[in-house]
């Protein structure tokens, strides 16, 4: 029996120890930050480096969005409140609406309440309108979240294939070939097919443009709504597949990446995407690091047939942030989302200089910053991508989103794929989609 008792005692000791260690972490001058990548935490680390007199440290909680774990954890932490509640938190475009306009919007602080002169600063920085639309809470019309990136999308195409097909690779000319509108796009697809090229890699590439071109989001007055533009995705995808206009790949799979290198079944003309797609995905997958290697340097960007945006991170603050921390939180929020000077986050971000020269360049929300930044890329044969991406931000539409988009999009795209594969009819696809949404999400 003695052994047993001593074991229990040892366990109790262990328990009290771990309670002690976990209690010691909290303290004064700490800003709690919830994020799903280390991107924003790293930005703030950099801010503290640049401003040694800031006086606060940041306690970052990073929970990945994969496996659907970030939202429940953030929601619980916000709802629980107290000293450990997040003071600042990040939301991705797929679910940001829940935090700015949906179920959780009540927890977000209006930027104005933090002491930011919203109207003046937004105007001075020339923030992309769609990011403001998404960050504005309908209940009181207050701005509660903004992103640092602008993710307006363009069409990114192969110069050599354009020359071979139409005799030119000039972005202004190509934009007229592939758009505006889907009819024009399919004409271009037929031209390319005649030369043995596919216009895109798979139906997923087209989806983001289709999604954004709809008038209404998935839910209207609490009921599931299939916008005609989104319903038309069935026909667009079918037409692409039946005519062999693409390689039938799925985005984020090996075959999709292979098409960036130009080694798929047929060479692929282009991809729909924002600037980050070029930097994070396409450049590395082009099979080279300087012009002439792989497809590196053979690309250019032009206006897409339909405006859209894809991805982005919004930064929010907790409305219950402690009074003594409020100024510090406001300072960080302002530096990340609104400031437009040469020492602002967005200036560093656009020019790829946050951690020294030579970082990846990206489009940012502030038009003022974009105007004084240089977006020339070797990958694009020296083209200044900002010339295309800045106007692209104006075409993006932030008004047709719902907080359930991620789940519903997946269900819809699955059914469309079943239809294009010829497994089910068009009506069956729509019926199965409605049934599944109703059964798994309770939305009829």
């Amino acid at each position: 029996m003695k052994k047993f008792v001593s074991l229990v005692l040892a366990l109790c000791l262990l328990a009290s120890l771990s309670v002690l260690t976990s209690a010691s972490a909290a303290g004064g001058g700490v800003i709690n930050l919830y994020s799903f990548t280390d991107e924003v935490p790293k930005m703030i680390e950099r801010y503290i480096e640049l401003h040694p007199d800031f006086g606060y440290t940041v306690n970052a909680t990073i929970i990945a969005t994969t496996d659907g774990l970030y939202q429940p954890a953030l929601d619980q932490a916000l709802a629980a409140g107290g000293a450990e509640a997040p003071d600042m938190y990040c939301a991705e475009s797929a679910f940001v609406l829940k935090y700015t306009q949906g179920d959780m919007s009540g927890y977000a602080a209006a930027y104005a309440d933090l002491g930011i002169d919203v109207a003046t600063v937004v105007k001075a920085a020339d923030i992309a309108q769609y990011t403001i639309d998404i960050g504005t809470r309908p209940a009181d019309g207050a701005l509660a979240g903004l992103g640092y990136q602008a993710t307006g999308g363009a069409f990114i195409y192969r110069r050599s294939l354009a020359k071979d097909t139409w005799g030119t690779d000039d972005p202004a000319e190509i934009a007229k070939k592939i758009g505006p509108g889907w009819d024009q796009f399919f004409k271009a697809a037929a031209d390319l097919k005649a030369k043995g090229y596919g216009i895109v890699s798979g139906d997923g590439d087209v989806w983001h443009a289709v999604e954004n071109s709809s008038e209404q989001g998935w839910i209207v007055d609490g009921a599931l709504y299939l916008d005609p533009a989104r319903e038309a995705f069935l026909d667009i995808a079918k037409q692409l597949k039946d005519n062999g206009y693409h390689n039938d790949t799925r985005d984020w799979t090996d075959a999709w990446y292979a098409d960036m290198k130009g080694i798929g079944e047929q060479p692929v003309f282009g991809f729909f995407g924002p600037a980050w797609l070029i930097n994070y995905v396409m450049a590395g997958n082009s099979g080279g690091t300087k012009a002439g290697e792989g497809t590196y340097g053979d690309w250019a960007v032009c206006e897409p047939p339909i405006g859209f945006f894809w991805g982005g991170t919004w930064v929010l603050a907790n409305k219950d942030v402690a009074a003594e921390k409020q100024a510090a939180v406001a300072e960080l929020v302002n530096w990340i989302t609104l400031a437009d000077d040469d020492q602002s986050l967005q200036y560093f971000w656009a020019n790829g200089t946050l951690n020294g020269e030579g970082g990846t360049k990206d489009t940012v929300a502030s038009g003022t910053v974009m105007a004084k930044s240089n977006g020339e890329l070797d990958f694009l044969g020296g083209q200044n991508m900002f010339d295309v991406f800045v106007p692209a931000n104006q075409f993006a539409n932030g008004k047709n989103l719902t907080q359930y988009d991620e789940s519903i999009n997946n269900l819809w795209r699955d059914q469309v794929r079943q239809y294009t594969a010829g497994n089910i009819s068009r009506d069956e696809a729509i019926a199965a989609f409605r049934q599944t949404v109703s059964d798994t999400m309770g939305i009829d």
Binding site: G68, Q71, P72, D75, L78, A79, D103, M104, N247, D248, T249, R250, T253, D254, A255, A258, G264, E265, Y404, E406, S407, I408, N410, D414, Q415, R417, Q418, A421, N423, I424, A432, Q435, T436, D439, T440, M441, G442, I443
Partner: protein, 327 residues
């Protein structure tokens, strides 16, 4: 079951039975019972939405349950779960039995026996997430190792994940591959627990290997086999990670959606329908209990059952006799 040691020299040892069960019971009450009851209760309420903490009981207490039973996607996911479990479990148990037969034989000397045994369990060491990614790449469409082989034979590339049967077969195969080693190890350890004298005397009596296997090994393995069947049934009906990760949330047209994936989708993706998810969990719980009871019944020790029945009858007769005497 062997009768417990009741008393020696008039000392009752029963209290030690209670005493030694205390840690389990305490932890169970503390960490399991509350969450389970919580789940059971919210199945009867209107609790949904991520920030909701208060809830009301429904006017029709079983509304969530009838809703789930009539839910076409739930029905489909239930059929999927059964189908995937069966096409994984039958070959899995067969292979595990075969390996047990091979690796517990006393006469045969298998070269590298130890190495083989160690290898069989290794697929289980990798996390399900990694396994799912690897298999998704192997069966990648339109380019991937398997499709390259198809092309080498002059066939068109095949989209495995849009085909109802192919996607189910792949998920079942992954389950089979991950768990056959576990099952084999359990069975082998069960055989090693059998008193070796039984085999020695059978050998002396001139029984063949096959005879020994069917007459001694299998009957003695009954308790462990029961364990394997029950745990595999429970694990199979709660199958979650591979179906969820291999084909996102159950694949196109929900062909690989299992009931656990369904429950997860209800509770965590999108609309947080906790009440319906709880009701679905409870329904699954009842189904598992019913199926397990059937397995228990089929696998029961007939002698023991008869002995128990006789004991009960004897007790009843005794009581009746006492009653008669009192009257």
């Amino acid at each position: 079951m062997q009768p417990g040691v009741k008393r020696i020299k008039g000392v009752s040892y029963a209290k030690y039975g209670y005493l030694f069960s205390i840690p389990f019971v305490l932890v169970f009450l503390f960490f399991s019972l509350y969450p389970t009851l919580y789940t059971a209760v919210i199945g009867f309420t209107d609790l949904k939405g991520v920030t909701t903490t208060s809830f009301n009981f429904l006017k029709d207490p079983f509304a969530n349950f009838t809703g789930i039973l009539n839910n076409a996607t739930f029905q489909k996911s239930f059929v999927n779960t059964l189908v995937i479990w069966i096409i994984n479990f039958i070959p899995q148990l067969s292979l595990a039995m075969l390996l047990t037969y091979w690796f517990t034989g006393r006469a045969r000397n298998i070269r590298g026996e130890g190495v083989f045994k160690v290898m069989f369990y290794m697929p289980n060491i990798i996390t399900a997430a990694t396994v799912a990614i690897l298999f998704a790449s192997i069966f990648g469409y339109p380019v991937g190792p398997v499709n390259s082989i198809l092309k080498a034979f002059g066939l068109a590339s095949f989209d495995f994940s849009t085909s109802p049967w192919a996607s189910k077969l792949i998920v079942a195969f992954i389950q089979f591959w991950m768990w056959y080693g576990y099952t084999a190890i359990i069975l082998i350890s069960g055989v090693l627990g059998i008193n070796p004298e039984l085999f020695e005397s059978a050998e002396i009596d001139g029984a063949s290997r096959g005879q020994a296997f069917f007459r001694i090994t299998l009957p003695c393995l009954r308790t462990i086999l029961l364990f394997t069947l029950i745990t595999s049934l429970i694990g199979g009906l709660n199958m979650f990670e591979i179906p969820k990760l291999f084909n996102w949330n159950g694949g196109p047209a929900n062909e690989t959606m299992t009931t656990s994936v369904f429950v997860y989708a209800q509770a965590f993706s999108g609309t947080y329908l906790y009440n319906r998810a709880a009701a679905a969990s409870m329904i699954m719980f009842l189904i598992i209990v019913a199926l397990s009871a059937i397995v228990f019944y089929l696998m029961r020790d007939r002698y023991e059952a008869r002995a128990n029945r006789q004991a009960r009858q004897a007790k009843r007769a005794l009581r009746r006799a006492r009653k008669g005497a009192a009257a």
